[in-house]
Amino acid sequence: MYPTRFNYESPKSIAEAIALLHQGGGEAKVLAGGQSLVPMMRLRFAAPEMIVDINNIPGLDYLTVDADGTIHIGALCRHSDLEKSALLTAHQPTMAAAAPVIADPIVRNRGTLVGSLCHADPQGDWSSVLMALGGSVVAQGPHGRRSIPVADFVKGPFQNMLAFDEIAIEAIVPAPKGIPNGGYLKLERRVGDFATAGVAVAVESSQGLIIRAGIGLTGVGGSTINATAAAQSLVGAPLTAGSIAHAADLAAQAAQPRSDHRGSASYKRQIVKTFVVRILNGVVESIERAA
């Protein structure tokens, strides 16, 4: 299995990469980790005329936290960088929980978070996580930069909001207003398989009350699902067994799973419900421990 023929370009700067994309006129594709793009090209689901390899652009592999807690993830920050990051363990529990369960350890050495967002696979873990966190993608094109919320960035299966001559240069997780908490749980038949279902929960609490919540669902719909009603039901109150069960029910209702070889639709809904409860019970424990 070989990809169709393409011209390979390896720019040394973002400006050069954008110029190449512009010149490619919609038939050029950015290559970062390549862990989804290269298999798709081999299977000929994708046949770009030009590959713009951004791996030789210096300074895109960062993972930084601002003084206020805003997290920046550069376009070449690999899953394994996130997995090994003490910074995430300290500042962002939902991301810290997701990083070790992305694909498999070897794929994590190449694949990138920003690339995963751009790929917009309904089975992609990071889209759910960043959606739950209210994150955004910074796109740079010939006319400058713009920031796009992840909830809007993912348009549908394998579709994102980028113009053909824009590059997603970083993802941003906004500064928390309370104490960040949450988690990511994924059911997979074996390591590296697509998720049967996955749930990302991100909450912020202050004085025992939930002041912000987000829930993203992986693999249970035609695109990543933002379970806003479930998340909103948690805001303004402390977490109780009742509020957790209610949010879990709403999240299960928001899921739009299809029956397939990984499980029936009702089974997947049940997984979503169970995972929401498990993550939020963990949050309760962690809040109690901290108190």
Binding site: M1, Y2, P3, T4, R5, F6, N7, Y8, S10, L31, G34, Q35, V38, P39, M41, R42, L43, I51, D53, N55, S80, A103, D104, P105, I106, V107, N109, R110, V191, G192
Partner: protein, 176 residues
Amino acid sequence: MTSLNEEVFPDQASNVPVRKVTIRINGENRSANVEPRLLLAHLIRQGFNLTGTHTGCDTSNCGACTVLFDGQPIKSCTMLAVQADGHDVMTVEGLATASELHPIQEGFKDEHGLQCGFCTPGMMITAKALLDENPDPTEDEIRWALSGNLCRCTGYQNIVKSVMWAARKINNQAAN
């Protein structure tokens, strides 16, 4: 420097220019002219005749094609050969010296870490990266590290034992 300088798959006409890549592979610089669409696994096998690297699933699932890329395990069927230009690659052929097997290879031999042997190069390369980073891994850490490499014969039990054997041997060598 050994220069291969051969076109891989030169049979079909193409208007895409070939590119010269030079890779430091198992400590030796080797060059080849390649089409951009050539995958690293195919350059290693067909271009450089290092057939220890296997291609199993061809879809970045199985890990049989794992090589070290600048010291980190990657699936060579999922990287373009042109991307490896100027980088350091280690294949399973780089483990043994002229006179002795690497402790990981000895471990796989001693603990019967293989049956058909197809996944073994990828397993050993991934184990190498693990032991380089964590010389005394627990069983769980070994299973975690090898979770991207599939074996359809052994049930993994003896593969894990092989890596533990290698870790003990390497640590004993270091202590003496």
